[in-house]
Amino acid sequence: MKKAFLNRYHSEIPLNKDKSNLFLEVSTAISVFLFSIVLAAYFMMTSMVLSWNKSIIDGLTVQIMPSSETLTADEELLRLNKVISFFDEKEGVEKVRVISNEQIKHIMSPWLGENANIETLPIPKLLDVKLKNGKTFDYQKASTELKEVAPYASIDNHGIWLQKLMKSASALKVLSLFVLVVVLLALSFSLFYAVQTSLKVHQNIIEILHIMGATDNYVAKQYAKRGLWTGFVASIIGTALGFGVLIMISHLSSGLETGLIGSAKLSAWHWGMIALLPPMTAILSMILSFLSVKQTLGKMM
């Protein structure tokens, strides 16, 4: 029974003794290791961009600095209304709300204490501006226009530099996708090269198999089985190394409590996707081996 089982997976071509095996295993492990790291970087950047995006979409804050001169209540109100009117008329703005002194007091309480009398302090007035679509809102333009209308008011530049950061992160995302494609191509090329070398080494055996009536599929299946096995084992090694490095990075960055980097975390879904690399690589390696053999044998007698 055991022998019958083993024979079912018997290969006439001694691929397990191929010198190209080591090359294939090492190149696959390295490719998968790089792939896992770059994929993780891609996931982290996606998380960061999503998180930043969310904070931008929520809206923006406008500061109205207190005047250096003493102003009457009407003059204060006029200054405030000027800015509110500016945003009310601005395209893309949904709602403008003055943040009440009570709320400002609450915001400032960690620094000033619960009982601070903020009316007597030179604290800016704050406006909460809700946007229809933060993604399309031009912060830079709004900021410049606001300066012309009300030089004493300014948009909290959080959104502006976050938008710049997002542009850079998006560029990095594209770059990481490009690197993933390059790694994939390098893996495919080394697989193709290993198969070609092996076909040359075993040309005599393949010729005998053909004479006995073996189809190209019969030969290609033996290579596909080797591809599946080698791809799986090597990619487990590559993924394990990748996991090790990612866990180490995750551990080292856990001390950084900054809002920006803090959002660059891998979710369980991301870890799951990276863990899927060995079976995916094994299947890819199997398919590429099969097609590579079929293509080469198709040119033979």
């Binding site: 022998k3 024979n7 079912r8 004479i211 009536g213 189809t215 190209d216 007698m301």
Partner: protein
């Protein structure tokens, strides 16, 4: 049921104006016309370099003619697809002069190859291979790796591998060259039995004794051409 006599009127290999040349070298064989009937038995003779191996190679579909038409089992091999060629080859058994065994495999696994290629189940393969290896007196060596077998043993493995599939055409290049007389007689009996069951047999040989003993017609290669030398008497059974 098809009788042996009826089979002999059905062409199984047909060559018309066939030439074989390698690269820019002169023709090895030229304007060959040959028709072998189903169930026929021929010796293939000729001096070394006369083109016996080339002719056999074409018969087992490892070589396409440089010119002319070769039809095997009714299929023109010039137009057959790769898969169709593979299907035709599965109906042909070949014994090579240099055996061409897969040296890293056991005798058992070598003989099992044609059956595995056909997709036969392992239990049936085991039964058939053991039976045949026992018949060629290799039952005790079936698990030995071929590289460790003697020349005679390798030859028997090669013959077992060629006949395990009960081929419709059996092509053998010097199949009794490396075995002792008793085994040679036994192997010839095997070929004759297969021939009686309808297998078309072509044996390339230099052995005048073998030709005299069994006295089948000869395909004789000479001066790049061939001639058929008829049998003088039938084998007495």
């Amino acid at each position: 049921m098809e009788t042996h006599k009826n089979m002999l009127t059905e062409p199984i290999i047909d060559m018309y104006n066939v030439c074989i040349r390698y690269g820019k070298d002169p023709d090895v064989l030229k304007d060959i016309k040959l028709t072998l009937q189903k169930g026929s038995f021929h010796f293939l003779t000729g001096k070394s370099g006369a083109g016996k191996t080339s002719l056999l190679s074409m018969m087992y579909l490892a070589l396409k003619p440089s010119a002319g038409t070769v039809t095997i089992f009714g299929s023109n091999i010039g137009y057959a697809s790769r898969d169709a060629m593979a299907a035709l080859r599965r109906r042909i058994g070949v014994v090579f002069q240099d055996f061409r065994l897969l040296e890293h495999l056991s005798a058992y696994d070598n003989v099992a190859i044609p059956l595995r290629i056909r997709g036969m189940g392992e239990n049936e393969i085991k039964k058939r291979v053991k039976e045949l290896l026992s018949w060629v007196e290799l039952d005790k060596s079936m698990d030995k790796i071929c590289s460790t077998l003697s020349g005679g043993e390798k030859q028997r493995v090669a013959i077992a591998r060629a006949v395990i599939n009960r081929p419709e055409i059996l092509l053998a290049d010097e199949p009794t060259g490396n075995v002792d007389n008793d085994i040679a007689v036994k192997l010839m009996k095997l070929f004759i039995e297969l021939n009686k069951l309808g297998t078309t047999v072509v044996i390339a040989t230099h052995s005048k004794e073998l030709i005299a003993e069994y006295n089948y017609p000869q395909i004789h290669l000479e001066n790049k051409g061939l001639k058929i030398i008829p049998a003088l008497r039938r084998v007495q059974q």
